[in-house]
């Protein structure tokens, strides 16, 4: 009780400080006035009386301070005193301060950036109320989130675990507001989407489940705040306005709140439309098609009291019903739950692994920085041993001196942390507005920092202050004032392994890991740029459009496509024009199950393989630069009237037809039972990602399988700028209302390269930071050892030691540590690169160039870091030195 009171008293005093001060002031004034009254009564004038009273009172300031201490208000005072002293000390050694602050700013900044990404993508994934109970559905062993619309309806209506189940998928549409039509991207969502997520409109209203009455019954759209802001200039009159989406009239119902940008983290939609209208937007009928996975993801809030486990068993019972009900289309309906932001574990898994890996590396960097600063601090404490001894001798407690050292450490780390945080906020802001794939303006990484990031940066700053501030503690506690003042700073030169040396080795090892990893990544990236993709992106231009945006449907689609091909072929300088539904490595793809010709039971589990499906025109392989290995390419005559044919790649031929050599002429079956004859075999290629293994692919004539999604490959040696202008005018001449975009093929490859670009860039930055830290670490250590042993070196020189021997004595140990650390780091780096290989294409550490590069880099680092200390060691003049001491 007493203790509690005392604590309460202390805390209260701290807060009542200013009041206390004022009271104390008044009390002392009152004392002086009373004394002056007395003096006045004895016949002294008032002014003189007051003066004398003041003199008699004595050192007012001193007594006030003592009174404050007596009243228990010393804590803040001593902190302020320590701070002042720390600022003075740091100002006295600007080099040390700058190095320390810069080191911390870099490493805390790196951590804040990585944590910002981690925070945005993984920890804080959805900006909706009660995000913690929001789950997305995924099924099968491959954690697929896609289901068909009828399956979604069954899941929505039959489950007893969710407070409503919503669905969404991504779509593109041509928007016509009366001006030039533009392509915008958005979400097709179930009618209950906003109600399930419990999001309220910023303006107007949202659509609801009750607005849906079958196919194309709900021509409503909701704009996102960002799109409304940038394209409708915050016009509140937009509610109720009718615009045209793919030439169909849609009513703008409202605007979503600014924080809500859909339910997938990488895509920022421009609008939301009811999914029942999908046919108008994509030209695809999915409402009754159980074989089409029209829903990207179903998601909802778990009911209160329902555990994820219960929900899964509930979903699985629906899953087995679905499998039984429609064995042809539904298989692998064993469900699991995932956080919805990264489309479940399919994308979430690798992203999480990569970000966690980065976080680990960033943490290691900070640790290395702390080790670095710790040894700097220890060196400083050793240099200041005289001052510390003096203060101890004058009666300072060791606690007070430690407190002082920690104040210095905290001050440095707070300044460094603030600088680092500022940098990271700028960087994260830049990252958030960055559009990695220009064509997909909606693809972005929203990683705006929030309070969590600030807290973590502060916490890291404080934690690192205590880490490196703690290094000299033992040294200070062991300080014997009498010894040091007697013998000067010449302590004994330690020969045993010190904590400082171990931490330096660890730090060098970490640096070597980072250097190795970034070199492996850069090499992999460089190699992958010169790889054979199964097509030649150079000297080819892509024209992307979706014909349904301009209202083409049915037979109109292939007819228009043929006209477009003809129009582009007529441009002078164009060698060939091919059509493909979506370009390989362009970010989009379709896969379909295929069956051998003998299979009669066409349920998914009987499929021989799943193959990428492309709809192409006769000249596609020519335009894309894909080599034909056997048979013929498709021709203009492979239309609806002709028998169904296909060209397949070598992998397809081997896997499904059982032979790469005489595949031509054989048949396979599509899921709907159609028999397709193979007329040609082409080389394998990369279709979705650079790191994939060879996958089967089939190419079907676009006249036989019409699709409005259109990409024209234009091969030409002409200047891309001129060519694209010519293409634009040619297409406008065909249909001025068709939105499209034109880009060199190499540009669109960015999507496929994104992962390895990001990995390489982040590893590169971390590698450079690691290298810088190692340099300062080695430099600090070498410089310190030279300055400590100056006298010994002087004596050696006086006794006739050669330059080589002096260097050996001064820096031999630093180099030994460097060698040990580098070797350990290189080994670890090689192990770590196995993880990298899954992200960066062709990343292999068993590359002589990488190994040599790492060794060379580390040697250079060592040379750079020890250059100045070595010069200093060699310039030691024994005569001056011996005279001085």
């Amino acid at each position: 009780m007493k203790l509690l009171d005392a604590i309460r008293f202390r805390i209260a005093t701290v807060f009542r400080r200013s009041q206390l001060n004022a009271e104390m002031e008044e009390e002392l004034r009152s004392h002086i006035s009373h004394r002056a009254d007395d003096l006045e009564r004895s016949g002294v004038g008032r002014a003189e009386a007051e003066r004398r009273a003041r003199v008699e009172f004595g050192g007012e300031l001193r007594f006030k301070q003592e009174s404050q201490e007596a009243a228990g208000g010393t804590l803040i005072d001593s902190i302020i005193q320590d701070l002042r002293f720390a600022v003075r000390m740091l100002r006295k050694s600007p080099g040390f301060t700058i190095v320390a602050v810069a080191t911390l700013a870099l490493s805390i900044g790196a951590n804040a950036v990585v944590f910002g990404v981690l925070n945005a993508l993984i920890l804080h994934p959805q900006n909706v109320p009660q995000a913690e109970s929001l789950y997305g559905l995924q099924h099968g062993s491959d954690k697929n989130t896609m289901v068909s619309y009828p399956d979604y309806l069954d899941l929505r209506d039959r489950n007893r675990s969710f407070d409503g189940l919503a669905a969404y998928t991504i779509c593109w549409a041509g928007l016509d507001t009366g001006k030039e039509p533009s392509e915008i991207s958005g979400f097709e969502v179930s009618g209950n989407y906003f109600d399930v997520l419990d999001v309220q409109p910023y303006l107007g209203r949202f659509f609801h489940g009750s607005d849906e009455h079958g196919a194309n019954s709900a021509p409503y759209m909701v704009l996102t705040y960002a799109y409304w802001h940038s394209h409708f200039q915050d016009d509140r009159g937009v509610v109720g306005r009718i615009v045209r989406l793919n030439k169909h009239p849609y009513t703008i119902l409202g605007v979503a709140p600014s924080g809500f940008e859909g339910t997938i983290l990488f895509i920022r939609p421009d609008f939301f439309v009811p999914m029942v209208n999908k046919e108008q937007l994509d030209g695809e009928e999915i409402l009754n098609a159980r074989e089409k996975t029209g829903v990207l993801m179903a998601l909802g809030h778990l009911k209160a009291g329902v555990t994820p486990k219960q929900a899964i068993s509930d979903l699985n019972s629906i899953g087995s019903y679905l499998e039984k009900n429609d064995p042809k289309d539904d298989a692998n309906m064993s469900f699991s739950l995932a956080h919805p932001g990264l489309t479940g574990d399919w994308l979430g898994g690798p992203v999480r692994a990569f970000v966690a890996g980065l976080m680990l590396l960033a943490g290691l960097i900070l640790l290395a920085a702390c080790a670095n600063l710790g040894s700097l601090f220890a060196a400083r404490a050793a240099d200041r041993s005289r001052e510390i001894a003096l203060r101890l001798a004058l009666g300072a407690t060791r606690g007070r001196i430690l407190w002082q050292v920690f104040t210095e450490a905290v001050l440095i780390s707070l300044v460094g942390g603030a600088a680092g945080l500022w940098g990271s906020v700028v960087l994260l802001g830049g990252l958030s507005t960055w559009q990695p794939v220009p064509r997909l303006a909606s693809l972005h990484i929203a990683v705006n920092p929030d309070a969590n990031v600030y807290w973590v940066a502060l916490l890291l700053a404080l934690a690192s202050a205590f880490l490196f501030g703690a290094v000299p503690v033992r040294q200070i506690l062991r300080t014997n004032p009498y010894e040091i003042i007697k013998s000067g700073t010449m302590g004994k030169v330690g020969r045993r392994i010190s904590v400082r040396e171990v931490s330096l080795v660890v730090q060098i090892a970490i640096c070597a890991v980072l250097v190795t990893a970034s070199m492996v990544a850069v090499r992999g990236l460089m190699r992958s740029l010169h790889d054979n993709f199964g097509f030649e992106p150079r000297n080819a231009t892509l024209v992307n459009t979706v014909l349904s945006m301009a209202g083409y449907t049915g037979d109109g689609v292939p007819a228009m496509q043929t006209r477009m091909i003809d129009a582009l072929e007529a441009i002078p300088g164009v060698k060939s024009v091919g059509l493909v539904s979506w370009p390989p490595l362009g970010g989009g793809w379709v896969q379909s199950s295929v069956f051998t010709d003998r299979t009669t039971d066409l349920r998914p589990s009987n499929a021989t393989a799943s193959a990428f499906l492309y709809n192409i025109s006769s000249d596609y392989f020519d335009a894309a630069g894909t080599a034909l290995l056997a048979g013929r390419t498709l021709s203009r005559h492979d239309d609806m009237k002709a028998p169904r044919v296909a060209v397949v790649n070598r992998q397809f031929a081997g896997k499904i037809l059982g032979s790469t050599t005489d595949a031509v002429g054989r048949y396979f079956k599509m899921p709907d039972g159609t028999r397709v004859q193979v007329v040609g075999v082409v080389e394998d290629g990369k279709y979705v990602s650079l790191t994939e293994d060879s996958e089967p692919a089939m190419f079907l004539p676009f006249q036989q399988v019409p699709s409005g999604v259109t990409c024209l490959v234009v091969r030409s040696d002409r200047d891309p700028q001129q060519l694209s202008a010519a293409i634009r005018s040619a297409l406008r001449g065909l249909d001025a209302g068709l939105p499209f975009d034109v880009q060199p093929w190499t540009k669109t490859m960015d999507a496929a390269m994104l992962a390895s670009h990001v990995a390489t860039a982040s590893l590169g930055v971390l590698g450079v930071m690691g290298a810088m830290l190692s340099i300062t670490g080695i430099f600090g250590m070498a410089a310190y050892s030279v300055s400590k042993r100056k006298r010994e070196l002087g004596i050696r020189m006086a006794l006739g030691a050669q330059r080589k021997e002096v260097l050996q004595a001064a820096l031999g140990r630093a180099f030994k540590l460097l060698a040990i650390g580098s070797a350990a780091g290189l080994l670890l780096g090689i192990l770590a690169s196995r993880v990298l290989a899954s992200i960066v294409y062709q990343a292999t550490p068993r590359d002589p160039l990488v190994l040599g590069g790492v060794v060379l880099a580390m040697a250079l680092l060592g040379l750079l870091a020890t250059w100045i200390p070595a010069q200093r060691a060699l310039s030691v003049d024994p005569l001056i030195l011996l005279r001085e001491e």
Partner: protein, 113 residues
Amino acid sequence: MTEQAQLLPGTLDLLILRAVSLGPLHGYGVLLRIGQISGNALLIEQGALYPGLFRLVRQGLLKASWGTSDNNRRAKFYELTVAGRKRLREETANWNKLVSAIGCALGAQAEEV
């Protein structure tokens, strides 16, 4: 003015407690009272009184409240708490024991040893 004695360390608190035990006093009043009851024999630096007063308040031996002095000025008045009264009794007893012991020691004659 008579020659004044230096205060022994630690005795100021005791004097303050004694002065205040005779009735509530403000700071300057404490000083006057000590002068009065000690026959002006002790030298006390005026300002040095205050750290003592604050210390005693913090220890819960005195309590303070603002009021108006005879000179019609605002002043902070101190009075003893129950703990303060108890402490004064103990310290007085201790002091007397110490004084008699030291007095005995200093007054001792050769043959008494």
